[in-house]
């Protein structure tokens, strides 16, 4: 047997590929993402196409998962709804990472007053139960896809900021930062070119889980009528049909499929995220 020496990146890949749950999550996620992306080609009907002969009809040959109260095809709307739910998850995750990484890096690198102001702001925001604050803000800003993304980003960047700040504090003491400073690089150049690339590993894990969280939050807020407006289908607002007792008890095809899709998407992201975390952890052996 030859003695392999793997680069950290190759080692992480090897660990990830050995994790059965992560592989399962990755494959499932790929399938879900592709079926939403390819919605215009897969969906048998268009999003708002109305079939007046089939209103609230149960799953059958014409409509794979039945139709809703306006005679729209549930299966097609699920495919398109996935696009909205996943977009919310992705954009909400990206914006909280951007805000949080910058704020955390600035707080950690500059320290002193800048640090105190940013971290006290984090403390204040963390004092609100997330869901109560978000329905408050959602009620104030009004329901829309853009507003959900803003709400999630504004409330959740605090977690990223804490993680990044803690890492920066330990990075700051390393020689390569001293070297960069000796070369005459400005604070901003050091933060952007030397600090942020080094915190990306832990941020990646957080970002993956944040997408899952964003999808869950979209579903909950839209269910309460505070999320994506009903004219565009999203998994969350399709679920809100279940607020009617008639739908809840007799028309399972209107609300169980979107709920199951949210569950499967979030589950696959969580499996994958956990696998990435283990793969990047140098303490865990292959």
């Amino acid at each position: 047997m030859k003695n392999d020496i793997l680069s950290p990146r190759a080692l992480a890949w090897k660990k990830l590929l050995r994790n059965k749950l992560a592989i399962f999550g990755g494959v499932l996620l790929l399938f879900l993402v592709l079926s939403s992306l390819l919605a215009p080609w897969i969906a048998p009907y268009s999003v708002n196409e109305i079939d007046l002969f089939n209103i609230e009809s149960p799953p059958g040959v014409d409509h794979l998962l039945g139709t809703d109260d306006l005679g729209r095809d549930v299966f097609s709307r699920l495919l398109y709804g996935g696009r909205v739910s996943m977009t919310v998850g992705l954009l909400a995750s990206a914006s909280q990472i951007l805000l949080g990484t910058l704020a955390g890096a600035i707080a950690g690198y500059y320290g002193g007053w800048t640090d105190s102001i940013i971290m006290r702001l984090v403390d204040i925001i963390m004092c609100f139960p997330f869901f109560i604050l978000s329905i408050c803000v959602a009620a104030l800003l009004g329901p829309s896809m853009r507003n959900i993304i803003i709400i999630i980003a504004v409330i959740y960047w605090t977690n990223v900021a804490r993680i990044v700040r803690a890492e920066v504090l330990s990075l700051k003491k390393r020689e390569f930062i001293d070297a960069a400073r000796a070369f005459g690089l400005s604070g901003w150049e050091i933060i952007l070119q030397h600090i942020i690339p080094n915190v990306m590993a832990s941020v990646t894990v957080y970002a993956t889980l944040a997408i899952a969280n964003g999808i869950l939050t979209e579903a909950s807020l839209s269910f309460l009528g505070l999320g994506v407006k009903p004219d565009i289908p999203s998994w969350g607002n399709m679920l809100s049909a279940a607020q009617s007792m008639r739908v809840l008890t007799r028309q399972w095809w209107l609300w169980i499929p979107p709920g199951v899709l949210v569950l499967l998407t979030v589950l696959s992201i969580n499996f994958l995220g956990d696998g990435i975390r283990d793969a990047l952890d140098p303490k865990l052996k292959v």
């Binding site: 963390m126 139960p129 109560i132 009620a139 104030l140 869950l216 579903a219 279940a242 969580n270």
Partner: protein, 323 residues
């Protein structure tokens, strides 16, 4: 230690001050005017203006803030528009129901999560361990309200054995033991829904805390001395893992209040979460402000408690350095 406590307490007060400013600004940016809407439309404009002036409606915003804050310090959170009662009274009417729901679900999740977490840490990589891991992932991934809706469908219609809304049977007039039993029956489904998420979290924490402790040398020493395995696990290992488990329990208190909003809304449970949701919809701003302020105090106290427990249990924590 005393100094550390004092500093953390001071810090909490400062944060609470910031929280109150945020709540105040948030509510003042809100559209609509609950004061004008709640007035009798037959009042003459002059009288209306005088009334508004009397309650400080025309004061500059910082004066309004200080007025609100000082009366809040005296325990007066204003009047709820919707209930026509002092906010503090509304909170004390509904908070016990939320605490009842929250504490039973916390107990349920600990009863399941701790044995399951310890078990899967001992039998690492067994089928049972995989089962626990997959269950906890599903618990973290299922939208709580979707789980609630499924339970309502199953237990209220497909197999009607449990009540799914309210806290007591409407129209019934149970007394004594029967009343308690009636409330308990109503409590079951919301408790299960609220407990699911925390059960999953606690399981994962218990498992990883136990694994960390079980790998340490003193466990090997205990085993080498011939201590019985039951003793090694519960007396030696679990005691040490308990520290991080307690911390995570304290830190999950805010999550219980957050989760209560959706759970209480679905099951029509008369708690503070549902009242808050309704109050936002009806623009009952004094009530919303009061509830948010109260919850911020609860969160600050539970964070403080977590820090203190941590510091008491782990003497390595240095008080002078901010982590």
């Amino acid at each position: 230690m005393k100094q550390y406590l004092f500093r953390r307490l001071l810090q909490s007060v400062a944060i609470l001050f910031g929280v109150s400013i945020v709540i105040f600004l948030l509510i003042h940016l809100a559209p609509g005017d609950p004061f004008i809407q709640s007035m009798n439309p037959n009042v003459t404009p002059e009288l209306r203006e005088k009334m508004l002036r009397d309650i400080g409606y025309y004061d500059p915003i910082y004066i309004q803030y200080f007025k609100w804050m000082f009366s809040a310090l005296k325990g007066n959170l204003g009047y709820s528009i919707q209930f026509a009662k002092p906010v503090t009274e509304v909170i004390s009417d509904y908070l016990p129901n939320t605490i009842l729901l929250g504490s039973t679900s916390l107990m349920l999740s600990l009863l399941i999560a701790i044995p399951a977490g310890v078990f899967s840490a001992i039998r690492r990589n067994s089928i049972a361990d995989y089962g626990v891991t997959i269950f906890s992932f599903i618990g973290l991934s299922i939208p709580a309200f979707f789980f609630g809706l499924l339970l309502i469908k199953w237990f209220a219609f497909d197999w009607p054995i449990l009540p799914t809304s309210g806290m007591v049977t409407i129209g019934s007039d149970y007394q004594g033991v029967n009343k308690t039993l009636d409330i308990l029956r109503h409590l079951i489904l919301p408790t299960v829904v609220l407990a699911l998420l925390h059960t999953a979290t606690f399981m994962r924490y218990t498992r990883s805390a136990m694994i960390e402790v079980l790998d340490q040398d003193f466990i090997r020493t205990a085993r080498a001395k011939g201590v019985r395995e039951q003793f090694v696990i519960w007396k030696h290992a679990f005691r040490n893992a308990l520290l991080s488990i307690i911390t995570i329990i304290t830190l999950s208190i805010p999550g219980i209040f957050s989760g209560a909003v959706l759970t209480e809304t679905i099951f029509v449970w008369p708690g503070i979460g549902r009242v808050n949701y309704d109050a936002i919809g009806r623009r009952d701003y004094p009530l919303v402000m009061g509830i948010m302020l109260m919850l911020a105090v609860v969160i600050l106290l539970s964070n403080l408690l977590a820090d203190i427990l941590y510091a008491v249990a782990d003497p390595r924590i240095r008080y002078d350095e901010e982590a």
